[in-house]
């Protein structure tokens, strides 16, 4: 082993602010995206492969990233979905008997640019105070003006449809075909652990592309419908909203997570909005207003459902709220077999406090 000197790299924000760092693995390159931060202390591999992060430059707030390497069955999709990684200490060395390799080689395989040795805390404080914005990470440190120009061309996340970029192109099946329940899933960027959670509850699942129609999903003769998580703004997802309306109209069992939850709100005429800097982490407190109990949840969203409109809506009730900022964390329809949550009961990464929601979905299917 020898001491390794690392190359300089920067992150340049759309407003011109720069944070200095070093390139991980001495890789050269430039990557654009909306900068966001995740406060989880574990689960980097799950986060990096979560399709909901598509197009985002991820700041990991944990002091060290990569300590336990990577493991093939701890991914949430087939590849890394973040646009770039920004961290404080990148662990080139790792230790875990079960690991298949280092995080460095995993990033390499996915051709992902990462920069380390950044004052991530200052960067997070900056995003907190000034809101999420587009940014670029680059090793081209002497070309700030050029990067600024390129950065202007990156589209704004507000109004941006991204689900099509990460959704499956062809339908596929998950689980045991002899399972008790059948579920049709609309893939807006689904995490594998949602499918694992459904399959584990004796369900056979068919996963459809983001633009599938009700007829497509219905043809599987499902007992229930599921709208997945995913990246981007829910508003442009008009096909998914139409699909949700159709399912609701027929009062079929429907469950939505994250982006799916927002689509259900929009299908009911409740608007969504882009949050200041979003919720991304595995320590988010949610109160279940039905039981009065708290849960610690995994969250990852930059858009949210308008709470006033949801509360005023005659058919909706707010079932869960976020305890820190009182945003809507869960919705249910009063006279329909439909509910949704803004957060991630499938965890991965994160606590399992909310896994009861999958049971509830199965119960709803049984009731039908």
């Amino acid at each position: 082993m020898k001491y390794q000197k690392r190359q300089k790299a920067i992150i340049l924000l759309a407003d011109g602010t720069i944070f200095y760092g070093k390139a991980v693995g001495n890789k050269q390159g430039t990557a654009f995206g909306e900068v966001c931060f995740n406060t989880g202390m574990t689960g980097y591999q799950e986060i990096f492969t979560d399709p909901s992060y598509y197009g985002q430059l991820m700041v990991a707030t944990n002091a060290h990233i990569g300590n336990y390497g990577v493991n093939a069955d701890e991914v949430e999709s087939d590849s890394i979905k973040i646009a770039g990684l920004i961290c404080k200490n990148f662990s080139y060395v790792y230790s875990r008997v079960d690991a298949e390799g280092s995080l460095e080689s995993f990033l390499d395989k996915n051709n992902l640019l990462a920069i380390s040795d950044v004052d991530t805390r200052a960067l997070v404080s900056y995003i907190r105070d000034n809101g999420a914005m587009n940014a670029v990470i680059s090793t081209d440190v002497d070309n700030i003006e050029g990067l600024k120009k390129q950065l202007l061309e990156v589209p704004d996340m507000d109004g941006l449809e991204l689900a099509s970029q990460v959704s499956t192109k062809e339908p596929y099946f998950v689980g045991n075909e002899n399972a008790t329940y059948k579920i049709s899933v609309l893939d807006l960027g689904i995490k594998k652990n949602i499918l694992r959670n459904l399959a584990k509850r004796d369900a056979y699942i068919k996963v459809f592309p983001y633009n599938a129609t009700f007829e497509d999903l219905e043809a599987f003769k499902p007992d229930g419908y599921f709208l997945s998580n995913g990246p981007g703004d829910p508003e442009p997802l008009v096909e998914a909203q139409a699909l949700a309306k159709e399912i609701i109209k027929r009062d079929l069992p429907l469950f939505g997570i994250c982006l799916g939850h927002q689509v259900i709100a929009l299908a009911n005429g409740v608007s969504t909005y882009k949050m200041h800097n979003g919720h991304r982490g595995i320590n988010h407190p949610v109160k279940n207003l039905m039981t009065g109990k708290g849960e610690i949840t995994s969250q990852n969203h930059g858009f949210a459902v308008n709470r006033e409109e949801a509360e005023a809506h005659p058919d909706l009730k707010v079932t869960h709220v976020h305890l820190n900022d009182h945003t809507v964390a869960g919705l249910a329809m009063k006279n329909k077999n439909c509910f949704s949550v803004q957060y991630h009961p499938e965890a991965s990464p994160g606590p399992h406090d909310a896994s009861y929601l999958f049971d509830q979905f199965i119960e709803n299917i049984k009731k039908n």
Binding site: T42, D117, R121, G281, N283, K287, H352
Partner: protein
């Protein structure tokens, strides 16, 4: 449901004297709990026998009882306060829980209609009775190591036969692993089994199959009455299973756990806590994880109370566990409470860290001659330090710099061990220096795989060490003129001190410092905020680090600093670092009062300390807390940043005091007694001249630097002679010798341990009475706050003596001499603040043994006995805010107060328990007696004869 309206008056049980395994973390938790209950308008009644605590201050509770922790005392309190609705026993460690159980068994709580809150007795019983606990865990599907209970010697033997070796023996219902041991070989089994059975109050031991080398973790949990559970902190022991967690180097957050394994552990912890009973409060769960691909998790134990680890977790995360646990005991739900740090988000959440903390225990084996220094499952450390950094390496370095064992950090300080065999031996049998030996092993070229094989320390940690060493090697190829900014910044980010870098570059520390200034490689301060900066925090709890720059859109480039300096006048109080024998909780008591008094005088107060167990490092004690090593470089940078009016050094014991010289040299104002006076008191020659000038007697003495000189001095002084090195703590290395042979042996011994040190040789006044006085002086007037007479004769360290306040058999003539001498010395030393003077009295003549112009161990005791805020007064005098004559002194004491030393010898079975000039006690308690006819006094006094007859 909000708080239970039936609870209006609550009894809190403290943890009593400090012993190994139960230190000042319970003053911290008790103090928080009292404040927390008071916020809710609850009347608080406190019992604790430890006078050196903040919690026993009259201002902390509505009624404070400094009584022995017995059911007799409980009954007395409950009779005097029939209004008490409930008892909260979870803040005072195992001692408080045990007392609560005893009172419960005797039906006392029932008799007085007192509810137990914060825990239920059944839960304690389950967790303490290892057999029951095991059955329950198996029932709920939580795996445990093969284990069985023995209540007899024969049964124990049978179990050993069944499990095979290695085994662990643990005694039931004991503290800090007392009576616990590893048994590697069959031939050791009999003795260790017998000892375990004897030590257990119920004559029961648990025998476990040893999980040697498994990774060890702890989770800190909080649960409310609505059954919401949150994990406040995960802690990973760098030392794997086999070393008591109190003796382990621990790290938070966990460094080597994947989310999958961590979440499994989290689920198990929550399941376990819910299974042991229905209570609202804190809980600690310990786990072992198999170091293989299976990552099997096994439960070790669960403690349904606030613990040493929860104090660490509070300091590590900023989340005040004891404060919130007290609220939960009142019936509040977590979602009804605020995050105390952000003041804008919910208390129902799990803190997240964007830094790393490393805790390293502090041992005092030098005080326990003959003790087994190998670490095992019985805790042996007496204190701990915590380092906070933006990387594991930085935190590790800061923790080693906090230890005050004359090391500058890992490596690069010329103190490395370079003996291959010794290193291998020390890796195999971990002791106090393990943290350094790993570095030395890597420096020597011992492969990491070999170090891992011996120590079972996770490779990730070893690789962090290796990176440090590689960096050291790289830097060593440069000189001060050739080193580049990036490399220097990296060294600082990884925690290397300027001194270490100077060592690598072959230059002076000041040159490295100047180079840093030149390059702009400066410390910045970051906040401990529970949330990784996701929310704005309100709490001024800082640590230092070094960061890469940020640059604003208009081209302003700098490293981001979060500690904004105000334009108020500021005072810095230096803390006392890790607890150790001779310097314990008393000094934390003094620091806290110094901070509060300075605030009363209108200053912004700044606390610097690195001991996570303390009240001084609670984020709401001072206006600003810098959780930093009490190490020159860190302190100087804070001073440079804050520009205070001055620094108070006389409240933080020897740790703070010994920085006075350097502070003075660098032009920093010392508040109160000047460095020159401190030094004068410490320098035996000069001090004796001062005594001579003032016609004050002192035992004949001289100074030696070689054995020859010592021998010559002995011809003049006459035996017995007291030999000690100068500038030491708690009588370290102090010995009474009676002939030349002994003298030579001890002198040679001391000089080999501390080369170059001066040795003081005093004629020892045999059979003399020892007394001491504490006083406050403003340079003009002296007020003696208390005079104590030791029950043991001169020759037993004052910290190990029973001290009576006021003296019980000193005549008027002697008392007058004590008063006169005290006043003369205080004035002659130009004391501004506190002073402690120790006397030997023989044939009605009062001799001076030593004078220390600083807060002493006895100040809190006197303050408690007389019910007077002496440290507050002294601080105001130091600051020049008041004169001694401004205060209306009004001490109140009926009868006498005795300061009784408490020892932790049961942790060191082979140690010589004989008392002498070297201090051995770990704590103290206070006993009030009405008259000298008291039985307990009589018993202590009768022991005096035993010493005299020796």
């Amino acid at each position: 449901m909000p708080k239970n309206p039936k609870l209006k008056s609550i009894l809190i049980i403290g943890s009593g004297p400090i012993v190994i395994g139960q230190a000042c973390e319970f003053d911290y938790s008790g103090t928080q709990a009292l404040r927390s209950l008071r916020e809710d308008g609850i009347e608080t009644i406190l019992i604790n026998s430890n006078p050196a605590t903040i919690m026993t201050d009259p201002s902390m509770a509505d009624h404070v009882y400094l009584l022995p922790l017995t059911t007799k005392s409980i009954i007395k309190i409950l009779k005097e306060h029939p209004q008490i609705d409930a008892v909260l026993p979870t803040m005072g460690g195992q001692t408080a829980l045990n007392l609560c159980i005893e009172a419960d068994e005797k039906g006392i709580w029932k008799d007085f209609n007192v509810e137990i809150i914060g825990v239920d007795i059944a839960a304690i019983n389950i967790t303490e009775d290892r057999e029951q606990f095991r059955e329950l865990m198996l029932k709920i599907g939580i795996p445990m190591a093969p284990q069985a209970t023995a209540t007899s010697y024969l049964k124990g033997k049978e179990i050993a036969q069944e499990f095979g070796f290695p085994l662990v023996i643990r005694a039931s219902f004991t503290l800090g692993g007392a009576g616990a041991s590893f048994v590697h070989k069959e031939e050791d089994f009999d003795e260790l089994l017998t000892r375990g059975l004897e030590i257990s109050p119920i004559h029961e031991v648990m025998i476990d199959k040893a999980l040697l080398g498994w990774k060890e973790y702890e989770l800190e949990l909080l649960r409310d009455a609505n059954d919401n559970v949150v994990i406040i902190c995960s802690i990973e022991n760098m030392d794997p299973m086999g070393i008591h967690t109190g003796d382990s180097i621990t790290v938070a957050p966990a460094m080597t756990l994947s989310d999958r394994t961590y979440q499994r552990m989290r689920d198990m912890a929550i399941h376990m806590m819910r299974s042991i009973g229905d209570f609202a409060g804190g809980c600690n769960v310990q786990f072992a994880v198999s170091p293989d691909e299976k990552e099997d998790i096994i439960a070790i134990e669960i403690n349904p109370r606030v613990s040493r680890s929860s104090a660490l977790a509070s300091k590590a995360t900023g989340y005040p566990i004891a404060k919130i646990a007290a609220k939960l005991a009142l019936g509040y739900h977590l979602d009804e409470l605020q995050n105390q740090i952000t003041k804008s988000t919910s208390a129902l959440f799990e803190p997240t860290l964007d830094y790393v903390i490393v805790k390293i225990p502090r041992w005092n084996f030098d005080k326990f001659e003959g003790s087994d220094r190998v670490l095992g499952i019985q805790m042996k450390s007496v204190g701990e330090v915590m380092g906070i950094g933006r990387s594991f390496q930085e935190a590790l370095h800061k923790a080693t710099q906090s230890l005050e064992i004359k090391r500058n950090g890992l490596g690069a300080d010329g103190k490395e061990n370079k003996d291959y065999n010794q290193i291998i031996e020390k890796l195999t049998y971990a002791s106090w220096d393990r943290v350094f030996i790993i570095y030395d092993a890597i420096a020597m070229g011992i492969p990491l795989s070999r170090i891992h094989e011996i120590t079972k320390i996770d490779m990730w940690f070893l690789k962090q060490y290796e990176e440090l060493f590689l960096l050291q090697k790289e830097i060593s190829t440069y000189k001060i003129d050739t080193i580049q900014k990036d490399l220097l910044l990296e060294a600082k980010q990884k925690g290397y001190g300027d001194r270490q870098i100077a060592h690598m570059l072959g230059c002076l520390e000041s040159q490295v410092y100047n180079k840093r200034e030149e390059f702009g490689v400066n410390r910045v301060y970051k906040l401990v905020d529970t949330c990784a900066a996701e929310f704005k925090a309100q709490t001024p709890y800082y640590y230092s680090t070094f960061e890469s720059d940020m640059e604003t859109a208009d081209g302003n480039r700098y490293p981001a600093n979060e500690s904004v300096v105000t334009d108020k006048k500021k005072i810095i109080v230096l803390g006392s670092g890790p607890n150790r024998i001779g310097q314990g909780i008393e000094f934390d008591y003094c620091c806290v009062h110094g901070v509060l008094a300075a605030a009363e005088c209108g200053y912004e107060t700044i606390m610097i300390n690195c001991n996570p167990e303390t009240v001084s490092t609670d984020f709401d004690t001072a206006h600003k807390l810098y959780f930093e090593p009490v190490f020159w470089e860190h302190i100087y940078d804070i001073i440079k940043h804050e520009k205070p009016e001055g620094v108070i050094v006389q409240l933080g014991g020897q740790t703070a005091l010994k920085l006075a010289e350097k502070l003075t040299k660098w032009g920093v104002k010392i508040i109160g007694t000047s460095f020159e006076s401190l030094d004068l008191a410490e320098d035996r020659g000069h001090f004796s001249n001062l005594l001579k000038e003032n016609n004050i007697p002192y035992p004949q003495f001289d100074i030696a630097t070689t054995a020859d000189e010592a021998s010559a001095i002995a011809d003049v002084l006459d035996f017995p002679i007291l030999v000690r090195p100068s500038y030491v703590l708690g009588g370290q290395g102090m010995k009474i010798v009676i002939n030349k042979e002994d003298l030579e042996k001890h002198v040679v011994d001391l000089l080999s341990q501390m080369p170059g040190n001066q040795l003081l040789l005093d004629h020892y006044l045999e059979g003399a009475i020892e007394a001491e006085a504490d006083a406050i002086c403003d340079g003009e007037d002296v007020y003696i706050i208390g005079i104590m007479e030791h029950i043991e004769p001169c020759g037993i360290h004052s910290g190990d003596s029973n001290a009576m306040l006021p003296p019980f058999n000193l005549g008027d003539l002697v008392m007058q001499q004590i008063k006169d001498h005290t006043k003369k010395i205080a004035l002659a030393l130009k004391t501004v603040g506190l002073i402690n003077i120790q006397f030997a009295i023989k044939d009605d003549v009062v001799y001076i043994i030593e004078a220390n112009p600083r807060a002493s161990r006895t100040v809190p005791f006197i303050a408690k006995a007389y019910g007077e805020p002496y440290v507050n007064y002294a601080t105001k005098v130091m600051l020049g805010h008041n004169k001694v004559k401004d205060f209306n002194f009004n001490p109140q004491l009926n009868g006498y107060a005795i300061k009784q030393p408490v020892f932790s010898f049961n942790k060191f079975p082979n140690v010589n328990k004989k008392l002498g000039p070297e201090m051995k006690s770990t704590g103290e308690s206070i006993l009030f007696i009405d008259s000298l006819k008291d039985d307990e006094f009589y018993e202590i006094y009768s022991r005096r004869k035993m010493y005299l007859n020796k």
